[in-house]
């Protein structure tokens, strides 16, 4: 089991009626990696996670989890998961739920440490129905961790958290990776992928469009950002090499694949360019470039 990858997905295809949610996805995650599945809503992240957990049957492809079928891996206590539509039972106390799940695994995470790691101090005696959104999310994390499983699958784990909760959660996730857990998490927060993951897998339209470290993706996108102040009447459509443009108040921001030719064109029309700035693109720009263009850009490590 130590030699098998934590996760091995080959040719995964999932359809809902006529819609192809996941389209021939291949992904191998070696044990110990922290991987972000990054993509916009509807990219196929959740579908992939659900297929890996055996919650839905793929139309094609194979999935091995820790060298086993998803169901066998879960039954053996190899997987902990935080689902987007997972829930907690009514008429129960947090401590009872945590206890039940801990006891279902062959090895349980020591309770004191689990409580501290998931950040659910003081919640054990509380009725589940009295939890806030962020607290629920942390209790669900505690359930995912309860059996100290080698593989953790977290589907948008921070969606109900405020900024502070989110940062605390990232620290927790980095700590898990430090303990040797394999962590695969879906997110549409670039900041989260950048802060936590060793590897970022960008998914769009059910396909893998990029795969590499955050730094590689930024470089792979190879875009730069030009911003300046311009009136609303300024025509920016005809500029060469521009991949995307946005306007916030009077500030225009362009991402370009070729900063030199874009700048030349801007300067050539003679209009002033107050507050001109040229910067390296952020991960966000790289991902936007990747997910908006249909081509697969390989930045594989």
């Amino acid at each position: 089991m130590t030699t098998a990858p934590a996760l091995d997905i080959a040719g995964l295809t999932v359809r809902y009626g006529d819609t192809v949610a996941v389209d021939g996805l291949d992904l191998t995650v070696p044990a110990g990696q922290t991987v972000a599945l990054l993509g916009p809503n509807g990219a196929g992240k959740s579908t992939t996670v659900n297929a890996v957990l055996g919650l839905l049957r793929p139309d094609a492809g194979s999935i091995r989890v820790l060298g086993r079928t998803p169901l066998d891996a879960i039954r053996a206590g190899g997987v902990g998961a935080m689902l987007q539509h997972g829930g907690l039972p009514s008429e129960a106390r947090v401590g009872e739920v945590v206890d039940l799940v801990r006891r279902s695994f062959p090895t349980a995470w020591p309770l004191d440490d689990l409580v501290a790691t998931a950040g659910i101090e003081g919640l054990l005696a509380r009725p589940v129905d009295a939890l806030s959104g962020g607290q629920r999310q942390r209790v669900l994390l505690a359930l995912a961790l309860a059996g100290e499983p080698p593989l953790l699958l977290l589907d948008e784990p921070t969606s109900a958290m405020d900024v502070e909760g989110r940062r605390a959660f990232w620290t927790t996730m980095r700590g898990l990776a430090g303990r040797g857990h394999t962590v695969v998490f879906a997110t549409h927060h670039l900041e989260e992928a950048d802060a936590v993951a060793d590897r970022v897998v960008v998914v769009a339209g059910g396909r893998l469009v990029a795969d590499g470290s955050a730094a590689q993706l930024k470089a792979g996108g190879a875009t730069r950002r030009i911003s300046f102040t311009a009136g609303p009447d300024r025509d920016l459509d005809a500029l060469p090499a521009v991949r995307s443009s946005s306007r916030q108040g009077s500030t225009v921001t362009l991402t370009t694949a070729d900063v030199e030719s874009t700048l030349r064109a801007l300067l050539a029309d003679g209009a002033p360019l107050p507050d001109l700035e040229v910067r390296g693109a952020s991960l966000e720009d790289a991902v936007l470039t990747l997910t908006s263009s249909a081509t697969t850009i390989g930045a594989r490590s």
């Binding site: 957990l53 689902l83 907690l88 039972p89 009514s90 008429e91 206890d99 059996g147």
Partner: protein, 248 residues
């Protein structure tokens, strides 16, 4: 004890409404009906017959209500995502279902026993010890029909419909099955309908035992048939809509 079993038992037992509707209410009705109809009895023999009849009817009402109430709640656990969450723990799916059946079956016992105690000590129903045990035993065993029905409804109905069904289905089964008013006073058409109700045959098990007889074969066969149909339908629904699905 299986951890999931004790967990589920604690959850249902925490629900006060459940205890009131399945234990307290049938017990109070037993006293109420016996005071009214027993008071009109022509003599002690007739009183015994009436008191035993209402006790058995209310045991049946409490038993089927408890079985339904304990199992229809599957719908709530589907809606909340809890069953989905359980699905990604090592707890086997078969165990989740088996625990629901076991909890439903066990929780019919308090209402049966409490109503029997009320019958004996408040209403002075006289039966032999063996008869008392047999009475509770057959009604406990027969409750499996309503456990199956409850699981079917819990799988088939959404959260809101399930909440309504918990009270409604029990009352309809009790009324049409002749548990409130005995079928002897029903007009012919309603009596035919009563004979098509599993609740009628469920109570018949108890009436036979209270009358000193063995439960009728017809009642046993009809209840077994209903149980099989409910269970098959539940399997069919579960195929289309797995336990762990959130909705749809």
């Amino acid at each position: 004890m299986n951890p999931l079993f004790s967990f589920q038992l604690r959850r249902v037992a925490r629900n006060r409404q459940y205890l009131i509707f399945t234990v307290v209410l049938p017990a109070l009705f037993t006293i109420f009906f016996t005071k009214i109809f027993g008071g009109m009895a022509s003599g002690p023999v007739e009183y015994q017959r009436q008191a035993a009849l209402y006790m058995v009817s209310m045991m049946a009402y409490g038993g089927l209500g408890a079985a339904l109430g304990a199992t229809i709640r599957i719908s709530f656990d589907r809606a909340s995502g809890w069953l989905r969450q359980l699905r990604v723990t090592p707890v086997p799916q078969t165990q989740v279902l088996a625990v629901d059946v076991a909890v439903g079956a066990l929780l019919t016992l308090p209402s049966l026993v409490v109503v029997a105690l009320v019958g004996r000590f408040v209403n002075d129903v006289q039966l032999g010890l063996g008869q008392w045990l047999a009475l509770v035993g057959v009604l406990w065993a027969g409750a499996i029909t309503f456990v199956a029905l409850g699981i079917l409804l819990g799988l088939a109905l959404d959260e809101r419909a399930a909440g309504g069904a918990m009270g409604f289905v029990g009352v309809v089964l009790a009324t049409l099955g002749g548990l409130w008013a005995p079928v002897e006073v029903f007009p012919d058409s309603l009596r035919t309908l009563a004979h098509a109700m599993p609740s009628y045959w469920y109570a018949q098990l108890g009436r036979d035992v209270a009358a000193g007889a063995v439960p009728s074969g017809t009642a046993v066969v009809v209840l077994a048939g209903f149980t099989a149909v409910f269970a098959l339908l539940a399997v069919g629904v579960a195929r289309h809509r797995p336990l762990h699905a959130v909705a749809g």
